[in-house]
Symmetry: C2
Subunit: 461 residues, 2 copies
Amino acid sequence: MTPQDHLTNQHAGALEDLKTFLNIPSVSTQPERRQDVQRCADWLKTRFENAGLEHAEVIQTAMHPIVYADWLHAPGAPTVLLYGHYDVQPAADTEHWVSPPFEATVREQRIYARGASDMKGNVHAMIRAIEALLETTRSLPVNVKFLIEGEEEIASPSFPAIAKQERERFKADYCICADSLQLSEHEPMLVLSTRGVVGFELTVTGARIDLHSGLQGGVVMNPLVALARVVASFHHDDGRIAVDGFYDQVIDIPAQTRALLARTAPSEASRLEALGVPALWGEAGFSAAERSTLRPTLEPNGLWGGYQGAGNMTVIPSQAHLKVTCRIVPNQDPAHILECLRRHIEQHTPPGVTIHATYGGDTPAYHVPLEHPAHRVIAAVLRELYGRDPVPSHQGGTVPILPMLQRHLGVTSLAFGFSLPDDQYHAPNEFWRLSSFHRAPLAFVRLLEELGRLEPTNQNG
Amino acid sequence: MTPQDHLTNQHAGALEDLKTFLNIPSVSTQPERRQDVQRCADWLKTRFENAGLEHAEVIQTAMHPIVYADWLHAPGAPTVLLYGHYDVQPAADTEHWVSPPFEATVREQRIYARGASDMKGNVHAMIRAIEALLETTRSLPVNVKFLIEGEEEIASPSFPAIAKQERERFKADYCICADSLQLSEHEPMLVLSTRGVVGFELTVTGARIDLHSGLQGGVVMNPLVALARVVASFHHDDGRIAVDGFYDQVIDIPAQTRALLARTAPSEASRLEALGVPALWGEAGFSAAERSTLRPTLEPNGLWGGYQGAGNMTVIPSQAHLKVTCRIVPNQDPAHILECLRRHIEQHTPPGVTIHATYGGDTPAYHVPLEHPAHRVIAAVLRELYGRDPVPSHQGGTVPILPMLQRHLGVTSLAFGFSLPDDQYHAPNEFWRLSSFHRAPLAFVRLLEELGRLEPTNQNG
């Protein structure tokens, strides 16, 4: 029996197994979910052992554990680190979910659950690939190390310390990052870059208590007005970010890359249709494809203050709050951007209020050239699976682990995952297609077979 | 026994009785409190009957009832309408209350509860005054009609229809509005004007679902940015409202009134200290006293959108929301102001989003000249009680019923109430001083005695 046959035979049981994995609400950002995150790590360790992996271990960190397992019986073959995460985004707005976010449900050839696409489905597919190879061939074409973390959705704060501590255990020739996309159900892609992220939170304080807007209206700077003025100061009318120094380190997009994006990215008409907005908007001089991949952004993620209930409450609130994240691009230094933001906020604090700011995030962008040898292997596997050449692409999202693996373990990571852009990750009704569920483990089997033909890099040697 | 002696004797029982009144959570803006509002109206009706009033009735309206009672056995004497409200502001932020908002508690010579100062304390004082006069003299110096409504905190929407229907029953020579202030514990005042109010709510919509700020960041107008830009457009940097036509109908403040305000209003230093702000802020060219009384304002009361929880959620929200109220001054037409706001919002809607706006409120400002005969009576009573002349004053708050009583019943209302500016109404830990609790019923007894010396105006005759 081939590994492929094994995967086909195991289909129904594997789907139930994935549901079990999805139904654990491993939301890393919510302190009340900490036990669930731990439970999910324990579940993974057992799953690794059942797949035939060795040295499975839940490695505790300062916050959420990393789950490790390996199979190291292919002397002379490269060692491949398989990276993923088992934590998921929150799903607070349950009223917008057709089925509950942590009760995985199959409808119309899709499996709906928080984390289905981002990225428990892909983690599960890697395990199934290993299991199929070990069950049918009693061996693997490469040495394999799984590193599945529980803090990706909160920017992997514990990772650097663990990487330092476990540098020997984690070392590898190549890293495959399965927290990644294909272009569509029928079009594969190669990921050449991802954006970095930094962020800040502001609390604007006016009077020490909420005031009556009749008695005190007109007397003080309203914290909501102050915060609105700060937010309005971040962009010029033409969409350029108005923070001094923000663009200092940004590299011009090469003409060849602009042409690639123009040729491969969704049209503006299809974006308008997909998003349901009356018009696109953003930095002047760049296409939507460029703005969402190789140009930096500044986006408020939350803003609130005052009365939000039904009816009226005529207050001038004492405080107003803001959460912002910025996506940054290759060559932008996170520390420099945070310093620019700090100066901007200081200079744009309106009179009559104080602003308390906290700054965070030090994830730079990540870039691997098209010419990397593992990219050639990945392209060949994708061509075989999809019957067409993969599209080289630049990603707007952030995978903090990619620059971290480079910085702390010295290993280059390549993106190879089977989520699709419309899978509603980070939004209500996240799903993963059953077509991806079928294709992903087959792809990982073929990838490992092909990586087995490469030389070890000895870069960690 | 004099009415004054009677009030002194009844002190302890009256305080318990007021607590019972305060403990009914008659929040008119919250639909889930509707039964509590009704219960409060029923309680008042019984209280009127126990005080010796006649024809007590809970008059149902489209929303919350009006409670009426009268005593009409003083032929030849004027008829005085005693206006108040038994509804209160919400108290949603219970974590900021030292004692629960609907469990009235006496601490440090103050009674703490939502509605203690605004204005159940004053309503209760009027009833005690009538009770004391009837118990001790078996008569009243004037004809009295109580009109206590349950919708003041939501701008009295049902009042016009009821006033039309009950025009005969409610007609009077003078109206005393007890929803009013004195300047401080030791300084009385006369209220010459109150501001009106109009308002609007906006919902800004971008994409049809929340977007991932990595994948779509930079592509669309973020509804939070759009809303911030709208809010920032409402004021010039110097605090003037930037809405075209907003100031068209505003009358210049007479030099004499500016001098009065400069002489009588709190100093800017004492305002800074009381409010705890680093600086005052508002319309250039006017003092804080002027800005909070005879100049119009535009104040956001609530603004929200996106993620408000702990940690990060990197979304571009689909929607953002805003609640605003404007205070308007004598001669400003509410409909004109709403039209100016509508035009401004249309003209300042950023590209890439749609804005749904709802507009409401048609309460103009109110003004009664210092020379009105009842003002002379009120001044004399206050002088007697406080040992000093009352300060003529202009109020920043809104009492929608004052222009409504004028428009619908043709009766001029005069403010006579015993709340104090620092009583924290509309904020956590609202209280009423026991000194006000003692003084208020004595004041109403003397006011009715003195009003008995005036001629009926026959204005309703």
